[in-house]
């Protein structure tokens, strides 16, 4: 099994969730994060104090999927989250060894 972890623009969340649902993925976990990268931040001024804000609000999405689904999930996210503008974010995939559904104790594939 894999976790597909993506950093996306916040307003793309609903589209990404729909894209995942449409390929049968019904669970995901979202975290508010701040991202630093090529997309440049902005400047805020409070009276005489000027702050360069380099970290921009992003959302991190984590989806655990069966290994066979990983590529489809990546593609779904990549398509839905794309605006073509700098700062669209990245997708990372890594392996997980074990999954448990707490409520039932089911493991691995059954737990997804």
């Amino acid at each position: 099994m894999k976790i597909v972890m993506a950093v996306i623009k916040p307003f793309k969340l609903d589209e990404v969730r729909e894209a995942l649902t449409s390929i049968g993925i019904e669970g995901l976990t979202v975290t508010e994060v701040k991202g630093y990268g090529r997309q440049k931040g902005h400047t805020e001024i409070y009276r005489g104090a000027e702050y360069a804000v380099a970290f921009l609000p992003k959302l991190k999405i984590e989806v655990a999927v069966a290994s066979s689904m990983a590529d489809k999930a990546v593609e779904a996210i990549a398509t839905a989250a794309k605006t073509g503008q700098i700062g669209d974010g990245k997708i990372f995939v890594f392996a997980i060894e074990h999954v448990v559904r707490i409520r039932t104790g089911e493991t691995n594939a059954d737990a997804l």
Binding site: I45, Y46, R47
Partner: protein, 452 residues
């Protein structure tokens, strides 16, 4: 250690002080009738009394929660409660001091040009029937009303200074400093400016609602304190953006609302004079808000909310000494000029010095107060819409205004330096670096402002 000891002794001292006080007050009350004797020829109007009581309430509202929110919103969340606490505790402490000796020191009736003497310690001799004069001969208000109104001024002035040293000051140091400062700076200067025997009053300085006593005074103390206490750790490196501009805006709005009590109330009667002070407090502020925003729009391409709020306060500060003697159109101009000057100072000039007057107390109250004091000399002239006609000399009055400003600056600066040195020696001024990094809320007060 020291800190602990200080607190214990304060608490103990306070208790005995208070116990003694009720008795003293009672004794002096016996000697009181003299004060009320002159009542024969006076008239008291319930409209004035009502107006002055509400005005007093409005000034308290300016501090709590007005000023507390204005300042609190500008600091980081980890220091929010410390600011609120400082404002609240200063208010409480100065109220008690005012009753015990502050009122007497400022308005105790002595003929000294420098202080009011000790005749009214513990409000001795004041009863429900005591009267205080207004600016109209023969028209009086209950003395308790005058005491309360002036008390709120004594409370807000030291609270204004807080903005200079937020996020790093020791709580015990704030309180100790304020006690010394009101005693040796505020009460004497209030006497000098507002008492008929006062030195600056005698010079003929115009200060309708406290431009020198309140704003320049607080501004100078703030400047001295910012320099002596030093910069916040991480200034210029860390992001120290306001944790809630919303609270700052609410605070600024409440300051405006309450300031009508401050300025119109300073007329002591509910009449056309109060109305003039009121309209000026509207128009000067409006002019100042527009000026700051317009300058930012031109220079930065964006008018900021904090800019508008800062202009608002700058306008209020500037119109404070002038409210009773200038005209509403002149007030717009005065407000705009003060706002532009403050803008220039806090966003350009200040950065070239090295001090950390964190919330620009000097930049707004000091600078705005000075512009207002001088502007009062100018815009009070009938030729510029003011009420001073005929034998009024703009140049002459302006010189007097400048003199009053200078006296205030010097007196206040000296008291502030000495007071801070004493406090530093006894308690220390700053919390530890670690406490500063963790935030004062947890380390000084054992609380956090926000949870989920």
């Amino acid at each position: 250690m020291t800190n602990r000891f200080f607190k214990t002794s304060i608490a103990g001292g306070l208790a005995s002080l208070l116990m003694a006080a009720a008795a003293v007050a009672q004794e002096t009350a016996a000697e009181a009738p003299a004060a009320a004797a002159e009542a024969a020829a006076t008239t008291m109007d319930k409209g004035d009394t009502a107006f002055m009581m509400i005005s007093s309430v409005l000034v308290l509202f300016m501090i709590l929660p007005g000023l507390a929110l204005f300042y609190g919103g500008l600091v980081r969340a980890k220091n929010m409660l410390s600011v609120l606490m400082q404002c609240m505790m200063i208010t409480a402490v100065v109220i008690v001091i005012w009753v015990v000796y502050g009122y007497s020191f400022a308005f105790g009736g002595s003929t000294s040009p420098w202080w009011g003497g000790t005749a009214k310690l513990f409000l001795g001799g004041v009863t429900m029937a005591s009267e205080a004069a207004t600016f109209t001969p023969g028209v009086v208000i209950p003395e308790y009303v005058f005491i309360v109104f002036q008390m709120t001024f004594a409370c807000i002035t030291p609270a204004l200074i807080v903005g200079a040293f937020v996020e790093r000051i020791k709580f015990s140091a704030v309180i100790a400093f304020v006690i010394l400062w009101v005693t040796f700076a505020y009460f004497p200067i209030a006497h000098m400016v507002w008492d008929a025997n006062g030195y600056l009053f005698g010079l003929g300085a115009l200060d309708f609602a406290g431009g020198t006593v309140v704003h320049i005074n607080a501004g100078i103390a703030a400047l001295v304190a910012a320099i002596m206490i030093g910069k916040r750790e991480g200034l210029g490196r860390d992001i120290m953006a306001p944790h809630s501009m919303t609270f700052t805006m609410v605070g600024a709005s409440i300051l405006w609302v309450g300031w009508f009590g401050f300025n119109a109330g300073s007329n002591l009667e509910a009449n056309g004079g109060a109305a003039l002070a009121m309209i000026n407090t509207f128009t000067a502020t409006a002019g100042a808000i527009i000026a700051w925003a317009a300058i930012e729009a031109v220079l930065r391409g964006k008018a900021s909310m904090l800019g508008a709020a800062s202009g608002l306060v700058a306008g209020l500060v500037a119109v404070t000494p002038a409210a009773g003697t200038i005209g509403p159109v002149g007030a717009i101009v005065l407000g705009a000029i003060a706002s532009a000057t403050c803008y220039l100072f806090v966003s350009k000039v200040k950065n070239s010095f090295g001090y950390d007057d964190s919330l620009d107390v000097f930049g707004i109250h000091g600078v705005g107060g000075i512009v207002g004091a001088i502007g009062t000399g100018i815009f009070s002239a009938a030729s510029l819409g003011g009420i001073k006609g005929d034998d009024y000399s703009i140049a002459g009055q302006t010189m007097i205004q400048i003199q009053a400003v200078l006296v205030t600056i010097v007196w206040c600066a000296i008291v502030s330096v000495v007071a801070l040195l004493i406090v530093k020696a006894v308690f220390g001024l700053r919390v530890s670096k670690e406490a500063e990094s963790t935030g004062l809320d947890l380390t000084s007060h054992g609380e956090a402002a926000y949870h989920s």
